[in-house]
């Protein structure tokens, strides 16, 4: 897909989807296995050194792992070994996109009250232009993961705003 640069001060860049995991724990609230290294609070995100969201607590007892780094994989494996949950490889389920620029927030505000949704949260699962999505704040804007089957229409909806 091509980069969509539009006139209202935002860019939407589809990213290449790589290996993507979801970790689902067997219970919520969470047990002791989630103490160290886990973003355990609702909407909490563990960022990597490059400021990329690496472990997103987007739903109760459920984390998105966009590009599993070795240390995150180790963390997941430890939790699995402890019998706390399971890992599902969901490669292809989520289309990652980067929405950036001064107009980025306004784009999302067209669809939802983004400020409230991310109030005291680093990420949120929500519905953007009727498309199931996960949003996380990142440098200069937002990292988005949109359900892949909806992605084309999501992009079209955003691009319409820049027309």
């Amino acid at each position: 897909m091509t980069r969509a640069a539009v006139s209202s001060g935002f860019t939407l860049e589809p990213q290449t989807a790589g290996r993507t995991l979801e970790f689902a724990a067997f219970g919520f609230p969470l047990g002791g296995a989630f103490v160290v290294g886990w973003p355990a609070a609702p909407g909490a995100v563990r960022y990597e050194a490059d400021d990329q969201p690496a472990l997103l607590h987007f739903a109760p007892a459920r984390w998105l792992v966009p590009q599993p780094h070795p240390d995150i994989e180790a963390l997941l494996q430890a939790a699995v070994d402890a019998g706390a949950g399971i890992v599902v490889d969901v490669e292809g389920k989520w289309q990652p996109l980067l929405l950036r620029g001064p107009g980025a927030k306004r784009v999302l505000a067209t669809a939802v009250d983004i400020e409230s949704a991310l109030h005291e949260r680093a990420c949120a699962a929500l519905t953007l232009f009727d498309c199931p999505s996960i949003v996380a704040a990142c440098a200069g804007g937002y990292s988005l993961w949109v359900r892949a089957s909806y992605a084309a229409d999501f992009i079209a909806a955003v691009e319409r705003l820049g027309a």
């Binding site: 919520f28 609702p42 109760p60 949120a124 699962a125 519905t127 199931p132």
Partner: protein, 81 residues
């Protein structure tokens, strides 16, 4: 006024939530659970799902005469985390 605050996601628009059913009285048999409803002007105990958000299932207690939400927690355990 019906406004749901998802224990996981915080306050969200009602459009994101889907009502499933009102709950039977405790101990109701299978037929009663599926078909019978005990109506009340003050209290309705319901299952909802936050389909447009975290997809968590919610146990909601509402006043159907005013719409006021008295309580909203995750069915699987835990109130506001």
């Amino acid at each position: 006024m019906t406004r749901l605050v998802c224990p996981f996601c915080g306050p969200r628009h009602l459009r994101e939530f889907e009502f499933h059913k009102t709950l039977p009285a405790p101990g109701a048999g299978e037929f009663a659970s599926v078909y019978e409803r005990v109506d009340s002007l003050e209290l309705s105990v319901e299952h909802w799902q936050h389909v447009g958000g975290c997809r968590g299932w919610l146990l909601v207690r509402r006043n159907p005469s005013t719409g006021a939400v008295l309580d909203c927690r995750l069915v699987g355990g835990g109130g506001a985390a």
